[in-house]
Amino acid sequence: MTSKIEMTDIYALAPHHRFQWEEAQQSYVILFPEGMVKLHGGAGEVLKRVNGKATVGDIVAELKAAFPDAEEIENDILGMFELAAGKFWIRKV
């Protein structure tokens, strides 16, 4: 089901999914009917920027600027998009 992620693609959170910071867990989570996924720091940073407006390229550039010391970050970000789209947490707009 997973299509290739292009830098010009724009994604939004899938319907019926909610993304929020959980104070008690000190992490971001995605909530959906009868489930939740706890996101580690990097995954949370990516999903936080998925807003139906920014392109994948915008998000990659923004994260590279925000985390200049992180290496090979682009592949990780694209991998996260692929996973999140494959799990239907996000959808292409």
Partner: protein
């Protein structure tokens, strides 16, 4: 509802998510899932209901709206995030709108678990305005005959109308179908019906035997062959259906070699608050002997979860006996279900008899054989209703409860 339908899938998904590398390690000390069993009153009388058979004791002492709101606030501070509003039929209370709105303000992802009876345009609009996130509707069969028979009510047409109402208000459609002898032969048709109704999720929850379903076990249990066929049809449907409908098939534990990791572990992620305010680590925990469960009327919720003797009793594995104690697989299932172990063997600390390594496994084998016995099958179903609950309490139905070590 069945036990498994309420929560196991959440945990399974959380755990799966941890395995795919996205999630950090599990936080095993927070009641991530709060189930509010807000009333035991119910207009349906389902033969497979997991509610306690003596529920009639708790229809007059329900928590007030204020007590529920206080409970929601305290649980949220402990980390609760998924909220199930269940029952009985929650819509029999007229304060669900208020509770839903408060849950939304607190940041819960909230789910109304309903038979659909009592859901009107006015109420669903109020839930939408209040921020309810989804509605899980129980369906029973593709045929009016079996729907009405197993629920002991005429609710077939109503459920279809409610499904359409849920859809038209933009809610995800989550259907729950409890599977038993009377509908297991209609798996393909049930899946097609769900698809036609526009379901986003369907849970095919094989009956697990607690509460009313335990005393009706001989009347409800399908054969192993029927279960295998149902699973085959479900897998076939998943493989060929191009739809986005997610299908969950909850395997019945009686036909498995190993027990389920009940509630994903005692006091690990689930907290249930019952209609009268009891705080439980699992739906049927009150069957266990020598246990005093906390109650929100008397006890602070943080203490109940973290420090109460009841919630600590079966946390971890130090309570285990052989063959669990030294079993290589003990972390996988934590010895199974304590309630099932006690109800069927009289020992709450022994292995769940579902396990083929259990010295009591013959009890499960006998139950499977009994369910094939035409004479036992022919005993009447005891439907879940107030009259029958009173009879259970008074001992009038002892014939059907006596083989169990506590009232189911």
């Amino acid at each position: 509802m069945t036990q498994n339908s309420l929560g196991d899938s959440v945990v399974q998904k959380t755990v799966q998510a941890q395995n795919n590398g996205v999630a950090a390690t599990a936080t095993h000390t927070q009641p991530l899932w709060l189930l509010a069993e807000i009333t035991y009153r119910c207009p349906l009388h389902c033969a497979f209901c997991y509610n306690p058979t003596d529920y009639d004791k708790h229809t007059q002492n329900e928590l007030s709206t204020e007590q529920w709101i206080k409970t929601l606030r305290e649980a949220r501070k402990l980390g609760a995030i998924q909220l199930g509003i269940s029952g009985g039929e929650p819509l029999l209370r007229d304060d669900i709108e208020e509770i839903v709105a408060e849950a939304h303000k607190l940041g819960y992802y909230s789910n109304l678990i309903t038979s659909g009876v009592g859901l009107t345009e006015k109420r669903i609009q109020a839930f939408k305005d209040g921020g309810l996130d989804h509605i899980q509707l129980s369906m029973h069969d593709i045929t009016e005959e079996i729907n009405n028979f197993i629920t002991n009510t005429k609710t077939f047409e109503l459920k279809k109308k409610v499904a359409a109402m849920i859809k038209s208000h933009g809610y995800p459609m989550v259907l729950n179908v409890v599977i038993h002898r009377y509908n297991i032969g209609h798996m393909k048709e049930i899946l097609e019906m769900a698809e036609a109704l526009g379901a986003d999720y369907i849970e095919l929850a094989n009956t697990q035997y607690y509460g009313w379903s335990l005393i009706n076990r001989n009347q409800l249990m399908p054969s192993k062959e029927q279960v295998e066929e149902a699973e085959r049809i479900t897998n076939e449907y998943r493989a060929k259906s191009g739809s986005k409908m997610k299908v969950f098939f909850v395997v019945p534990d009686y036909f498995a070699d190993r027990p389920k990791k009940c509630m994903n572990g005692w006091g690990e992620v689930f907290m249930i608050v019952t209609a009268n305010g009891d705080v439980l680590p699992c739906h049927s925990a009150r069957v266990l002997p020598n246990m005093k469960f906390p109650n929100v009327k008397d006890d602070e919720l943080g203490w109940s979860w973290k420090d109460s003797p009841a919630f600590n009793k079966y946390r971890g594995d130090s309570w285990m006996k052989e063959p669990c104690r030294n079993c290589a697989e003990k972390e996988k299932d934590l010895g199974g279900c304590r309630c099932q172990a006690f109800l069927l063997t009289g020992d709450a600390e022994t292995a769940d008899p579902v396990c083929s390594l259990s010295p009591h496994h013959h009890i499960i084998e006998k139950a499977i054989e009994d369910a094939k016995n035409p004479q036992l099958q022919a005993q009447p179903i005891i439907f879940r209703n107030d009259k029958n609950s009173k009879k259970v309490i008074s001992g009038e139905l002892e014939e059907r409860t006596k083989e169990f070590h506590a009232l189911p």
